[in-house]
């Protein structure tokens, strides 16, 4: 599996003089432009809005990249699957880990610029893994299911391409939950991604402990998703002939 991940990373920057250093580029530019735009050009009346935005966007990247790629994990490797027998789970795992490695670079950039954006590194950060772990579980569950379902229903890929950007605007990234009108807030609270992003905002923006309700929801959604995803993925061996 390590070999598969290494392969993807190597190929991505093959022949580029700066190589892996390029992976710093995108997160650096995103963070700094948001900071400049929302501090100097369009100053927002929200408290440290750039920090809120960048926190959301960085975490959103993990979700959207994994979900959008997941439909190709099995289909894109059909040559391997039909000609070699190895645990099928390796393909999603290596696909997600590849994204994960680049995301870690993005998080490192975020961490380096955290105080510039106005964040206070404090004891609230101890809660961070408790939100991040179920977040990753939730993403993986969904992605595993998508990778298998895509084999039978080729519409799934297009569906994700339409709904992931829509979901972006339904998630508290560009806006702040507290600033919403009451009835709209109620509708949006049904978004299963909301508790995770509320959690990230609480920890990284407000530097407080996330609400216990959000934490419980995160773990509930995360565990339910990963269990459902694994159950669907067990079907993978049965649909090999449809690849």
């Amino acid at each position: 599996m390590f070999n598969l991940v290494a392969k993807e990373i190597k190929i991505r920057y093959m022949g580029a003089a700066l190589g892996f250093a390029w992976s710093l580029g995108n997160p650096l530019v995103v963070t700094l432009t948001y900071y400049m735009v929302f501090t100097y050009i369009l100053p927002s009346n929200q408290d440290r809005f750039a920090l809120h935005l960048v926190t959301g966007v960085v975490h959103w990247m993990l979700f959207s990249q994994i979900i959008l790629q997941s439909s190709d994990w099995l289909i894109g490797n059909n040559g391997l699957i039909r000609k070699l027998s190895f645990p099928r789970g390796l393909l999603p795992l290596s696909g997600a880990l590849t994204v994960g490695v680049f995301w870690l670079v993005a998080i490192a950039v975020y961490a380096a610029l955290y105080t510039l954006l106005g964040g206070y590194p404090g004891s609230a950060l101890l809660w961070y893994p408790l939100v991040l772990i179920p977040y990753v579980l939730m993403i993986m569950g969904l992605a595993l299911a998508i990778s298998v379902l895509q084999i039978t229903w080729r519409d799934i890929k297009h569906l994700t391409e339409v709904f992931v950007p829509l979901l972006f605007w339904l998630t508290p990234i560009v806006w702040v939950t507290a600033a919403l009108p009451h009835d709209i807030a109620q509708i949006v609270s049904f978004n299963p991604l909301a508790p995770f992003f509320n959690g990230f905002t609480a920890i990284l923006h407000e530097s407080v402990q996330p609400s216990l309700r959000d934490l419980a929801l995160c773990w509930g959604i995360g565990l339910a998703s990963v269990i459902a995803g694994l159950l669907v993925f067990k079907r993978a061996d049965k649909v090999v002939e449809l690849l």
């Binding site: 599996m1 390590f2 070999n3 598969l4 392969k7 190597k10 190929i11 093959m14 040559g79 391997l80 699957i81 039909r82 000609k83 070699l84 027998s85 190895f86 061996d237 049965k238 090999v240 002939e241």
Partner: protein
């Protein structure tokens, strides 16, 4: 009697063939014009096949195109699940359905060896121990550290073959790929396979030519339309 290493019992595999399978547009048209209606047909690619293979034994599957040889091979290797019946294998099964599966053209021969071997279930440590053997056997010399995209097709196959025969499978399943490259390399392949058979590797070889089957195998199984119609020893 030596140890049974592979046991295949009344194996059946059905495929669903869809004629005229299309999207919504097709479905709608099918309501009015039967020419567009979807028809589903079941094709029994492997029908009630049983055999056992002992350590060091070899079996060649012979039959025409579409007689179910390759499907049977995929079932034995665990790539496809049987519709009914069972496959029990004791030991590492290495399917060699196509040479150089999973090679990435941009990676060097060396990197591809590690990648390919790990897909056959070898740890990097085990590959490292065999690396020199693999590289020597392929006879690629200095090319081993250049990207595979620069290889000739013969070199590509030689590398693929070298990896597959060095993962030390207990059962090797080969789909008409036992002799590749020029005459010298073919002889080398032949010797290597012989050597592995003496060490107790079981072999299943898919072929249409009885001659090649005879060269490598003691037994044969003749398939036609998914059924085993004849079996015996050469």
């Amino acid at each position: 009697m030596s140890k049974v290493i592979l046991k295949v019992e009344s194996l059946v595999k059905d495929f669903t063939i869809r004629h005229n399978h299309g999207g919504m547009k097709h479905k709608l048209a099918g309501l009015f014009n039967p020419r567009f209606q979807e028809r589903i047909e079941t094709l029994r690619a492997v029908n009630d096949v049983s055999f056992t293979l002992c350590k060091g034994e070899s079996l060649s599957l012979i039959g025409h195109n579409g007689s179910g040889k390759s499907t049977l091979l995929q079932l034995v290797s665990g790539i496809l699940l049987p519709s009914s019946g069972s496959v029990q294998a004791f030991g590492r099964v290495a399917p060699l359905i196509e040479l150089g599966v999973g090679f990435h053209p941009e990676l060097t021969g060396e990197e591809n060896i590690y990648l390919n071997a790990s897909l056959y279930g070898l740890r990097n440590k085990e590959t490292r121990a065999r690396f020199n053997d693999i590289a020597d056997f392929s006879g690629l010399g200095d090319f081993i550290d250049t990207p595979v995209k620069n290889y000739s097709s013969g070199m590509y196959m030689r590398l693929g073959f070298s990896v597959a025969v060095h993962v030390a499978p207990q059962i090797l399943l080969a789909d008409e790929v036992l002799a590749v490259g020029d005459q010298d390399f073919q002889d080398k392949c032949y010797q290597r396979i012989r050597h592995m058979q003496e060490d107790g590797m079981a072999l299943i070889l898919v072929t249409h030519s009885k001659e090649q089957g005879q060269r490598f195998c003691q037994r044969y199984l003749h398939l036609e339309k998914g059924r085993a119609i004849d079996e015996g020893r050469f």
